[in-house]
Symmetry: C2
Subunit: 114 residues, 2 copies
């Protein structure tokens, strides 16, 4: 089992990082994990992302079935929100591990690094 993990480990790491890596996907997932978000809400929290890029990243995460785009209707209006899919929710703990490692170790990298 240990051996099997190692044989396939690298491909697995690369595949997972393709989902949460990149400049925006990790941050996007970490916001949506927290609670469902609307397009402009994400856009303003993320800061410097453009609409085109945000759209592209959201469509990609949808394609991977990590998130879902749902129409929210009230009597008077309707809008869309992005939320984790049932399957996507499983990544929340992984993201928490990322945040934890970051909080404990990032400083070392930032201060000693460069």
């Amino acid at each position: 089992m240990e051996v099997k993990t190692k044989q396939h480990g690298i491909k697995v790491v690369a595949d997972v990082l393709d989902i949460i890596g990149g400049k925006w996907r990790g941050p996007i997932l970490s916001y949506i994990c927290d609670k469902p978000r609307r397009f402009n809400e994400l856009k303003s929290i993320l800061g410097r992302i453009t609409s085109a890029t945000l759209t592209k990243e959201l469509r990609y995460l949808e394609e991977l079935r990590m998130i879902e785009r749902v129409e929210i209707r009230t009597e008077t209006s309707s809008t869309y929100e992005y939320r984790m899919s049932q399957h996507g929710k499983s990544i929340k703990t992984l993201i928490q591990h990322v945040v934890e490692w970051g909080l404990q170790h990032r400083k070392v990298v930032l201060e000693e690094g460069v």
Copy 2:
């Protein structure tokens, strides 16, 4: 504490993904985590990476103090190996979480996705 984590969470996620993200850094770290590796060993395990790219990525991880480049001397010869720094070792569990999530969930993404 929960609030504090959330306020800084995104920046933290982005910073950590800058270390383990990208096309090669995750795989490289996951190999070196396992045991120290030599340049050409890494190059051949990683497959399609070029020397220039591998050098660049290794220098960057060194700069972040995640790995160390050490000269290995025997009586007859000397070579170099890359190994995790004391600080870098802490990322091993995080990488294990990445692999675990991947093994459990990647298939869903690959099969249902696209």
